[in-house]
Symmetry: C2
Subunit: 135 residues, 2 copies
DNA sequence: ACCTCTTTTAGACATTGTCTAAAATTATTA
DNA sequence: TAATAATTTTAGACAATGTCTAAAAGAGGT
């Protein structure tokens, strides 16, 4: 597991305790978690952590390309991406699955005069597990 | 403007007053509105309309292929689509723009054992208008 | 130590969406 | 028509997700 501090330093982000903890949660659980998920997990160890810090930090890390924002119909999930891939969202259990098929995504910086900052597939359906009765 | 009643009848959906009103709002304003937007508009004329009815109806119309669900980072928007197209979401003003460039989207029914019900691009950035100061 | 800039905190607030039990409406049967 | 059954709507509580602000805390430079 890569060191959170190194990752932050490389992007010139001051490695505060809170930022390290937030990043470590993502590096440890590889679950495509929402900000709320991460907030709840951190609260167990550090009850003083602020919701605002979690949201601010996740935004900061995304803007610096450290995390990918995975857009789903109910929340944004965060992913530390080492190799590019797509995602599948199950509308039943709300889990996000990695998809390693290489669908191409247009590489555009601008369209119709709008600046594109993020383009991704949103693939929604019912997952394998839920189809089999889900546990 | 197509008749809401006709559209509902064609899909064998009982054309109740509420459903007609909801569909008419979408046909009239072509704004990629959220359920909440539609709810607020209807409340002005019919204060007894229920939030649950709006959400239930939009789900029903989507499941029947009458409306497209446009997924954005903050809400699902509804679109009556006559000609297929993509969408751009401005993270500043939260407006959704039609994109008529024909990026291809993989036509998959299943992937890794998961059933795909909906696949779309999610294109996020800053719109033309906001780049020019917004208004 | 002092000043400044950055970061975090606490908590209110806003927005979006789900759920349920009761009421109202519509369709079917007798 | 009257009784019954099925569908639809309502009201409002609740849950989940995200934003905002003013004050406090912390870090770095002089
Ligand atoms: Mn992933
Ligand atoms: Mn559209
Ligand atoms: Zn599932
Ligand atoms: Zn904009």
């Amino acid at each position: 597991m890569k060191k959170a501090v190194e990752i932050l330093n490389k992007s010139n982000i001051r490695p505060t305790l809170q930022r390290i903890n937030i990043l470590n949660v993502i590096l440890k659980y590889k679950n495509h978690m929402s900000a709320e998920d991460i907030y709840k997990i951190l609260q167990r160890e550090t009850p003083t952590i602020s919701r605002a810090t979690v949201y601010n930090t996740l935004n900061l890390l995304s803007k610096n390309g450290i995390l990918a924002e995975v857009i789903t119909p109910d929340s944004v999930r965060y992913d530390y991406v080492e190799k590019f891939h797509h995602h599948f969202y199950c509308e039943k259990c709300k889990k996000v699955y990695d998809i390693h098929d290489e669908f191409s995504v247009p590489n555009i910086k601008k369209i119709d005069g709008h600046i594109v900052k993020n383009i991704q597939y949103c693939i929604v359906g019912i997952c394998k597990n839920c189809l089999n009765g889900g546990e």
